[in-house]
Symmetry: C2
Subunit: 150 residues, 2 copies
């Protein structure tokens, strides 16, 4: 599987500054440190790399992965995309576009806007289910009150 190069600052920064566990320059996290920070498993981190969802990850002189602050930012963004329900294949597509460079800004925007539309309709769908749930919950709560009165 291909890996993406380290994305540029603008590609990675999410909304607002995020504090990193270590300052730039000393940011050489082992996989288990990344596990602690992200909540992902080491398996998943290696799998992300294998499917091309991660940029190239630095290695120590013994071949162990050393993640950077930038990798952490990318993982945080991927985490957000995951929460949207975006399929991993689409995230990989996005990672490929980042790898290619600035010429793909437009396609990246389209990808995110389509995801945005999906999120909005999913929210609407969920709000729709809420009224059904509330109706039923009220029914059961009403039945309980009635049996307490009896």
């Amino acid at each position: 599987m291909e890996t993406t190069p380290a994305p540029s600052k603008a590609d990675v920064c999410a909304s607002g500054p995020t504090a990193h566990p270590r300052p730039d320059g000393q940011d050489h996290y082992t996989i288990s440190e990344v596990v602690a920070v992200t909540g992902l498993t080491a398996h998943t981190l290696r799998w992300y790399e294998r499917i091309g969802l991660m940029p190239h990850i630095d290695r120590s002189h013994t071949g162990q992965r050393r993640y950077s602050n930038r990798d952490l930012d990318w993982l945080a963004f991927v985490g957000k995309l995951r929460l949207t329900g975006m399929p991993v294949a689409h995230m990989v597509r996005y990672a490929e576009l980042v790898r290619v460079g600035e010429d793909t800004f437009e396609e990246r925007r389209e990808l995110l806007e389509s995801t945005r539309r999906d999120v909005l309709s999913r929210i609407a769908e969920l709000q729709d289910t809420l009224s059904v749930l509330d109706f039923k919950i009220d029914f059961y709560a009403g039945a309980r009150r009635a049996s307490e009165r009896a």
Copy 2:
């Protein structure tokens, strides 16, 4: 797999009256009619029955399924639960509670309230991702405008 008995009116009615394709008394839908109404596949309908998510479905004299308006209502409700993201195993649990009867109102209410909480937090999560998406979309849109000016 066990099947549930026909749930009582109160167990099934969703929010508001739903028009049925045929009036009560003439409601003997074939599986393909139910496919057309619900959008589920025939496979899925049979699978739902096998795992205990459906009440007992009437059969014609030749053994073919004949669904009733009540079955359609139940399927509509199951569809709503599916949209909430509730796992099928929980829906089966709910169906079991319906089968047992009115003694399970309280547990059913708890199940739905827990689902409701899940839905609310999922909505919040999605709204959170929206701000990240918007931030990135704005960045790419801004880059486009900048390049058009250049």
